[in-house]
Symmetry: C2
DNA sequence: TTGTATGCGTTATCAA
DNA sequence: TTGATAACGCATACAA
């Protein structure tokens, strides 16, 4: 391994002091054009690469941000991460990626270590920390963006970005109603999921707003996977064969429901319409193609990073941003 | 935002010098047990978090590694990244994630910036750099692991990890033969893909080893997605209806082939057997469930990180590691 | 067991 | 336009 050239090395080779080189490298004023060119040439020749560690110590800036997610292999967060990284790249930032596995203890360690690394900002997705703990951490970062997590009091230097899950459910219900469906069911997600809670809320409020009454028995809980969706659909349709529409917590649950319907000879969407949520790649692969709620994760990722950058550079930003869902109508409803 | 406590702050509060605090924090010998406890208590009270930037400058170590991948939202690399991060977490390391989009220029920038950040090691996946350029970079890192990229000369401080794609194709072919198939076709991937090249090579050599002759006309190239797989299968089966087995470049291509077969009334696997590659989640969701070649990406990710750690700590490691594939037999073959 | 001096590579500040 | 000096926060080497 070769030893890295330092500012000092370049300075010696150019016959000037480190400061002149520093100014040339960071193209600051105060260096003659000819001198600058000479220094730049020498730097290139020596493969000089600024030591960001030293620079970080001197300036208290690292052009680095932390990205904390439950699981980067979950397609949702994978896309978010991609969007964040793309945008970060464009602005010359690097990102630390850390998974929490939805474990609060691991999340805390992540936040501690990121603090130690001196990141300029923090992106925290689906935090499982208690309000008070979370606030305590946020206060120690000079900039942060929260995804999918509300925070009570307004805190400086932080912005919360949330998916409008209420609206997502509303879109599904309204589409069913426009299709003339009368017995609309909902397979909701895990009880501890905030998204699940909000979608359920949106589901019931949308039905009420449309004069539907008595639908509590058409709501069934399910784990967010295909087999559970299958089981939930089986239960619902066995007890209530009159159901003609199902809004599923996510696409996997929807696929499970579709599979059960197919196996029991129900035609989709003629006999029963199904709407999923998330628009995972599978949604457009299976037959019938799944009608589903779409959030543009890549866009969200870019938005997150841009927002963080605005906070870092001190521009004013709103303290809360809502992401609006879109209904992608395909074949299942 | 609160100002961070430094070693100095803790020292003052404890009435000792920075060095004593430093020893206590890093639990090195030379501090009385009582003193150490007192210091640790004060440090906790002050929310003291070691400044890794300063530590990095002093020790030339950052407990940080760089992970460069073509696209972290590609499930294959997402899983790899997860494995890497999990293992890194266990050893107290943080990872920088950078995407290249398979763009050599972007890859180079990534390697430059990582060098600047002073990472202790580099993980480079599917590098598109020329041999000479790549070697030049590798030499500037004190430790590195290459995935899916061979390098000619043996270089100190680096290990190449490769999937045994040759063997993957061999497994598929041998399974077809054990099934009694006589007309085995292959839909191979993009010409610039190393994996595709090696699988194609494995395919032909396995057939030759089993006394098959004249099968070049049963090989068709395809982009790595469903529609292209569909088109390739259509072409092959139209021209050569006698085909009774297809080994596809990846699962998406296989799904496309399966869809074409289904639409033309061919029974799978009775009339035609299909084997994919990668074992993406979709493979076990569609019907018939796809028989495919499986690599345990999470395991590979962990292996990569462990190997890198061994190089960093100076333990001896092999300069090349092969990952063996497994055939997951499901319903399509 | 504890303390002192010095340096890591860079930038900020002030002087020339 | 250029240079000298200090500072960032910590660890290493050596001394007490």
């Amino acid at each position: 391994m070769k030893k890295r050239a330092t500012l000092m090395d370049v300075a010696r080779a150019a016959g000037v002091t480190m400061m002149t080189v520093s100014r040339a490298i960071n193209n600051k004023s105060g260096v003659s054009a000819s001198m600058r060119q000479k220094i730049l040439d020498i730097a290139r020749e020596l493969d000089y690469q600024p030591n960001q560690i030293a620079r970080g110590l001197a300036t208290n800036q690292t052009t680095t941000v932390g990205l904390v997610v439950p699981d980067n292999s979950n397609p949702f967060f994978a896309q978010i991460a991609r969007g964040v990284e793309d945008q970060a790249y464009e602005f010359g930032y690097n990102i630390f990626l850390i998974n929490t596995s939805e474990d609060p203890a691991r999340e805390q360690k992540a936040l501690d270590s990121l603090l130690g690394k001196g990141v300029d900002g923090l992106i925290l997705c689906s935090s499982r920390l208690s309000e008070s703990r979370l606030v305590r951490y946020i206060e120690r970062y000079s900039a942060s963006v929260l995804l999918n997590r509300d925070i009570k009091g307004a805190i400086r230097n932080t912005t919360a970005i949330n998916l409008n899950d209420l609206r997502a459910a509303q879109l599904a219900v309204e589409h069913f109603i426009s299709l003339g469906r009368k017995n609309i069911a909902h397979i909701c997600g895990p009880a501890n999921s905030i998204s699940s809670k909000k979608r359920l809320e949106g589901f019931t409020s949308a039905l009420k707003a449309n004069k539907f009454t008595s639908f509590d028995h058409l709501i069934e809980r399910s784990a967010p996977d295909i087999p559970s969706g299958y089981a939930a659909a089986k239960f619902l349709l066995t007890v209530h064969p009159e159901i003609d529409a199902i809004y599923a917590f996510n696409d996997l649950v929807a696929v499970g429901a579709v599979q059960y319907c197919a196996e029991t000879g129900r035609r989709i969407p003629q006999d029963i319409a199904v709407i999923g949520n998330d628009d995972i790649p599978l949604a457009s692969i299976i037959r019938p193609r799944l009608t589903t709620i779409h959030f543009d994760q890549n866009f969200i990722g870019r938005l997150i990073m841009r927002t963080l950058l605005e906070i870092i550079t001190g521009e004013v930003t709103p303290r809360a941003i809502q992401i609006e869902p879109e209904l992608y109508i395909r074949e299942s409803a």
